[in-house]
Amino acid sequence: MTGPDPAPPDSDAAVPADDIEQLYDWAPCGYLSMTPGGVVVTVNQTFLTWTGLTREDLVGVRRFADLLTAGGRIYYETHLDPMLHGQGSAREVALEVVRAEGEVLPVLVNAVLERDQDGAPLVVRVAVFDATERRQYERELLRARRLAEEAEARAVELARTLQQTLVPPRPPEVPGLELAAVYRPAGSGAEVGGDFYDVFQVDEDTWVAVLGDVSGKGVEAAVVTSLIRYTVRAIAVRMTDPSDVLRDLNRVVLDHETTHFCTLALLRLVRIDDGWQVAESLAGHPPALVRTPDGTVHLFGSPGSLVGVFDQVEFTTARRFLGPGETLVLYTDGVIDAANAGGHFGEDGLRARIEASSPSPTALAQELVDEVVEFQHGSPRDDIAVLALSVPG
């Protein structure tokens, strides 16, 4: 610190040059000097005014640490004092001084330890700033941060719970049909993804399978996913043609006034003898792939409109018999759009994998998803869902 500058020649004569003692005593911060052991040796008037203590209370009698709350005293002894002696200074340390009347004054403290020429500690100088309002603000911040952390933890938990309701842990047992479904959310999986699937029975020999992808992410997308899933269940019970189901579903989603839309593949499966008659309608979704017992893979399905975008929609129902030894695979675009530096996984990649894969739908679905994840170095950019159905034989 340097002394006050001489008054510039053109200074206003009504304002006297500040006196160094006045500056010390009435500076807008508290000043204390103490022995290296912490006993107060000088203190300015500002500190005394703030705290209601007197010089007689302090000088040569008390340690600065003794003026603090108990918690602050521990902090002083275990942090501030070591910093002073170990590194010579401490800055912006938040403490609380106990006033003469017992209330506390939140302060910020800067302190330096001065050593003599031989390096022996000489004096500790402390500047004390009233931090009442700042501390309140910081407490608010701290509380907000805690709340935010808790809210985030709850949101992640909610996402998981929600995800489990949208994507059943395993598909149901369907006599005469082997079913496998694998779902892998994008990235770390903390968010609710948009992919979903469902398999349910509508009468003794009739089942409906649906695999879809709702645009967007998060809670609102999950609400739309939930709406679509239960609407399909409700409509599919009374309508036999999958295209009719999609048409009604489109109306419901449009009425919901959401900006989210959806692609899906809807299958109605009726058991006949040793196989299944399959009716499929697609809404902006890639067609199914069917692998025949000789290992060749065929596209199955005709393209249709997205659900939730247009009033006028067009859906087509494709039909085929799924016989013994045949496997039908439904997938979301997270499979074919998967990319790495070498290019896209693509439809060709998908077909090649399905041609080469083992006959078990469980192994097929799992291996396929694993490959797509690995293709993206373990962190898929989009959700991936695969549903595989095969007729034993």
Binding site: G38, T69, G71, I74, T78, P82, G86
Partner: protein, 270 residues
Amino acid sequence: MPMDAASRWNVHLSGREDGPTLVFAHGFGCAQGMWRFVAPAFEDRYRVVLFDLAGCGDSDPASYDRVRHSSLQGHASDLLELCDELGLAEVRFVGHSVSAMIGVLAAVERPELFSRLVLVGPSPRYVDDEDYRGGFTADDIDGLLESLDSNYLGWAGGMAPVIMGNPDRPELGAELTTSFCRADPELARHFARVTFTSDNRADLARVTTPSLVLQCRDDVIAPPEVGAYVRDAIPGARLVTLDATGHCPNLSAPEATVAAIAAFLDGSGE
């Protein structure tokens, strides 16, 4: 990922490679830099081992386990692992503050590993309990946690302490800014709770290692009567009171601290 002791606890070895082993353990609040004015005095005769407790200084944050380290026993197990991994024997152990009790626990578990214990400002229990006077109430400890929280914002902002006033000792510069009293606030909070709610009074009587209690004349964290309590509870322990104030004589009165430790290590220990 398993790491060696040197990386987990930021171990620093110095001094005579063939000298007897002298391990310094720092207390609550800071890290091994606490010994910077003490440890060098022993390097001409001893193999000096410095390290950072889990959760402190530059120890590997991943090695801090809230279950393992929910009591001082976890830190004592760390100390034993560290000694074993470094192949130490006949350890002269100097523990400051909370590390005094960590040393006590380790020496009770493996008495053959330790030949001397120096307990600097030890307290087996900080909180008052019936007739026992630790010096603090449970509310005081909550106050400390609040105090840590208040200083959390500064930490979070990456405030690097500015080094001042030691132009003749430039070595106090960069190394200190990165390691002195630096800790992950969440871990510091956990460690504070573990430290100040510990009760190791019953362990003292089980110490068989020759022990010295180094006590400051005026220390609010570990008051003189607590030092006397520790001396009385450890069979055969001695007490030396330093003419120093505060809780960190290793920083505020290094010469006296060095002299007392050296005298004890040189003596018979009886």
